[in-house]
Symmetry: C2
Subunit: 624 residues, 2 copies
């Protein structure tokens, strides 16, 4: 078992390796930007999917306006988040910012919203990546879900291996995608503007107007396009992942990320407009644009394959963000503590496994269909944007002496208002299409976090001892007698070892045997008589099933002289065997016995390991 | 959790209930006979499936001869097994008989063959039962596998509830099926012989001769039909399940079973001959016969539904046989010991769960298709027949003074020879159709059983202490010092309780704290100083991951004064919480620590339970 694990995950790393796992700008950008940049692969398509069936040919003009408004929102977010990075060099993003400035409840709300969003990032990105590859290779259509799960599994393993290695694997494809996309944008316009290429015009029938152009329709298109902005916050969450000076490096990364998203998203939106692409079921809009521009050439396949890879890598953003977010929440007691433990390779293994499981469930439920997942997406992230910006705004409002206070208030204030409005628009226009699921789940997570915190608090309160109380204690004074009971199935090496141990820890030792029949009892009594000991053996009849009940009866019987307040230690040998399959053959009774005994607060179970070695020669001799 | 279990499984039964769970002839017959009788539902069909595509119209004549030869084999088996029941009133069937008379290796071979056969009984019977119901209700065709798994689950739950209740649930349908079948056979012949009904003649095209009639073809047909005889041995395995006098009752049951199988199997084979039924994909032969005889009347549905029920119940035979067989093998050390433990309801729960799992895997692999499963079937059971009969033969050859020795030798001798030949025929004619799987798996199981036995023997040898050795021991004399180490995360109620306990079990107590940073260490040292104790606190730096390594270093360091041969007890508190979800929040570090520590033979882990109660009022007060 450990060897299999090492093959996939790599051999364990020491704690000291942690500081080596940090990012510089050019490793950091591809890891943290892939989510935001990759949304180019579906954002324009989702806008067109809302507009084309409704307003036909008019959709293309509106696409440009909707894209422009989203790009403006993008710049506002970059400005806002630069300030967040400056103020929060330790990361934690919306959760920390909201908690610090708006209070714990808003912090948890932001954390819940973000964690849902991370899971959706994984599901949406992988589904969309597989859609890109199916566009190029339609024969893979029947393996959509299997391919999604395969890539999810690869990502999980990659991330369990640790951050830096991830960067090396994942950074080249991001650059490859961006370069390919820029070539396509530039050549796409050259082809129309300078080479006189006339894109095929869709038929009037395909593009007839079915509905009036309403504000609601535009807002729905805007909501769909807002998915392009998910992932912008990744940089601010991951500031401590950067090398020193991490604030500068993170800010630089954020600005570069903004520029790349702008170029790629606006470029493809204008290309879709110019080439009048109509969304279809099994081909993505991006693949149709690439096909128009590059024909069936190698460049077409280059675009499709890098699109797939960057989308799968985008899911990777969530694999760095999610485990870190919930580890911070776990450290504060709002999530199970083990989510704050690093694994062998210094990644937060439990968080990675949790993220992978939930994403797999989403992929299975929505059959790996991007269009079905999109309405769930973006509500969470815009909610966390709003809470984060509101938190920053509150911070500036409170700190009277801050430098450039007014401009900071203006930037984060407008950020908060605009993202707040966007959240409402997204939740409203997509509510019936699936956003309601998120609207239900986020409060459920908030409730769960509160309940977990309440539990940990209750435990801490119950365990607490003040300094004064400590000073009054006298640990060294015996307050009670410790009775030791050694259950024995037969008198053998293991039971003798257990009895000997029992003798060293107490003067009150009792041996206990449960017999199925009188013959059995007689045999063990005879063997016991041979032993040179004053330990008393109790034999109880209980045909082959119950052990606990007669044991508890013995404890409470008068002959045992147990007084309330005394402790009881039950010594149980545990066989240690060399291989897993041998383990199946042992320790079942011990396991059940221990579980049942530990329900009694006055019973301590002492587990005594016994190494078993299979001596093949001795067996062969014995068999003869 | 316990409540859910009780709803499905029933409340626990006492050991003393065991003797009440016994069978009389008329409860025993339906339980033990359903396997053999129900094969009527597919045996004739499997013969026709071999013959009709090859020799067309000639198939019907040959069907009668093949069926007759199988019936003769049936009578020989009934005679042979009557003698087995007489000699082995404690059951165990082929495994016991072969082990006693031919040696351990042949016993295990029989056991392995039988256990494979039991699993196939479950898979084949359920698949065939669902085929019966799909014949009547074709719209269920798409839910074949789901239905198979549903009935498998119901059987599993029924059997976990215990034997007698099973009988009550399962006996009426068996009788209902037999009565329905006899009515069909009688009325089927009356309709043709007396009422002048002329069955529709299949076209020449459908029944043209494609191949010559070869001996191999007839033997293949015979092999397919031999599935009708599986389950005959069930009675001899289950003799101890009968009320006293159990030998007489079991023999009577066996004879009745033989008569019923004869009537039902021969009757349907002759009906198939008379009505010239042609096997088809989604309708069973039995359903086509019933449809010819009863039209679309209520009787047709009665036959289909009782066929389904008896087949599902037939699977139940395996649910009584398999767990008992492997419990006997487990008691002998050839299977994991826990297979010999009865559950709350006195059934061998582990065996039942094991059988259900393997049958579910077979149903999934073969998509619930009876025809694909049949070639795997019967090899195992005929191999066990052969070993059992050979064992009996050997017994009579050895016991010179046995009454009626010669007739006993003749019966079991001819039984052994005939079933041996049948085993070879089945394995040979069906090898490429799937029998090879069983031919591979049975030796694998035999190997596994040997390996398990070898392991248990090695362990027993290693643990063994002779009477002389016992007399020389002096358990009460201290041979070593027990050092106690209490790892503490902070100084609280739990750690103080652990320290106090440590004090009662040894004079050499050390407290141990792993710190992540200097600040932490300082704080715990200050709090420790407040304690009025001479227990020494060791603080070790180990940033947030490793605990084991510094602990082992401490033990081996000179300041700890540990000498080879001494024992170390590590006291670990375990939080006991009231609900399952709370359990997720605790005890993870403890779990890993315990697992790692118990790899060292000189370390005992003392687990100290600590009941936690969530005091809501106190938290609310604390939060204010």
């Amino acid at each position: 078992m450990p060897n299999v694990k090492n093959i996939f995950i790599g051999s364990p790393l020491k704690n000291e390796s942690l500081k080596d796992e940090k990012l510089n700008v050019y490793w950091g950008l591809p890891i943290l930007a892939s989510d935001a940049i990759s949304s180019v692969a579906y954002a324009s398509e989702e806008i067109l999917l809302v507009l084309v069936p409704a307003i036909g040919i008019l959709a293309y003009k509106q696409l440009s306006w909707v894209a422009l408004s989203i790009v403006m929102l993008l710049f506002l977010l970059v400005l806002s988040y630069r300030q967040t990075i400056q103020s929060y060099p330790n990361g934690g993003g919306a959760y920390i910012v909201a908690k610090d400035n708006l209070g714990v409840n808003w912090g948890i709300s932001a954390g819940a919203a973000l964690s849902v969003d991370y899971i959706l990032t994984v599901a949406v990105s992988i589904s969309s990546g597989i859609a890109a590859i199916i566009s190029a290779f339609p024969s893979l259509l029947n393996y959509r879900i299997e391919l999604c799960l395969l890539f999810l599994g690869l990502l999980m393993i990659g991330n369990l291996r640790g951050i830096r290695e991830s960067a090396k694997i994942f950074s080249l494809p991001t650059y490859a995608f961006v370069i390919g996309l820029i070539i396509m944008i530039v050549y796409g316009f050259i082809k129309v503007w300078f080479l006189g290429f006339v894109p095929p015009q869709p038929s009037i029938e395909q593009l007839k107007v079915m509905e009036p152009l309403t504000l609601f329709l535009l807002l729905r298109a805007f909501s769909s396009g807002c998915t392009a902005l998910t992932g912008i916050e990744a940089v601010s969450n991951a500031v401590p992942n950067f090398k020193e000076p991490n604030i500068k490096k993170a800010q630089k990364t954020l600005v570069l990320l903004g520029i790349l998203v702008f170029v790629c998203f606006m470029g493809t939106a204008l290309l879709a407009n110019t080439y009048h692409v109509i969304p279809s079921a099994n081909k993505t809009v991006l693949s149709m644009i690439a096909s128009e521009i590059f024909g069936n050439s190698i460049m077409y396949y280059y675009i499709q394959i890098t699109t797939m890879i960057i989308l799968v890598m985008a899911a990777n953003t969530a694999f760095s963000g999610f485990p870190m977010l919930i580890s911070v929440m776990a450290a504060d007691g709002y999530a199970p503590r083990q989510l704050n433990q690093r694994g062998d390779r210094l990644s937060f293994s439990n968080g990675i496994l949790m993220l992978s499981s939930f994403a797999a469930i989403l992929i299975l439920i929505f059959r790996g269909d991007t269009h079905l997942l999109i309405p769930l997406y973006a509500v969470g992230v815009f909610m966390s944007f709003t809470l984060s910006q509101s938190g920053m705004l509150m911070k500036w409002l409170r700190s009277k002496n801050e430098k450039d206070r007014l401009s900071k208030i203006l930037i984060n204030g407008s950020g908060a208002i605009v993202t707040g409005i966007a959240t409402i628009i997204i939740g409203w226009t997509k509510f019936i299409h699936g956003a309601w699921i998120v609207v239900v789940i986020i409060p459920a997570i908030i409730f769960l976090c509160m309940k977990i915190k309440k539990h940990y608090t209750a435990v801490a309160l119950q365990l607490k001892r003040t300094d004064d109380e400590l000073a009054e204690l006298d640990i060294d004074k015996d307050k009670y007698i410790n009775h030791v009971i050694v259950p024995i199935a037969s008198i053998n090496k293991a039971s003798i070892r257990a009895l000997r141990y029992a003798r060293t820890i107490s003067k009150k030792v009792t041996a206990f045997h449960v017999s199925i029949n009188e013959e059995d009892s007689e045999k063990i009594r005879k063997r016991w008589a041979l032993l040179n000991t004053d330990i008393k053996l109790y034999v109880r009849y209980s045909p082959y099933r119950k052990i606990i009940e007669p044991l508890l009866e013995l404890i409470e019987s008068e002959e045992h002289e147990y007084k309330k307040g005394d402790m009881i230690t039950v010594v149980l040998p545990k066989f240690s065997v060399s291989s897993l399959w041998q383990n199946i053959l042992h320790n079942h009774t011990r396991f059940f016995l221990e579980n049942k005994l530990l329900k009694y607060k006055h019973i301590v179970v002492a587990t005594m390991p016994l190494q078993l070695k299979v001596d093949e020669v001795a067996i062969d001799r014995y068999n003869k």
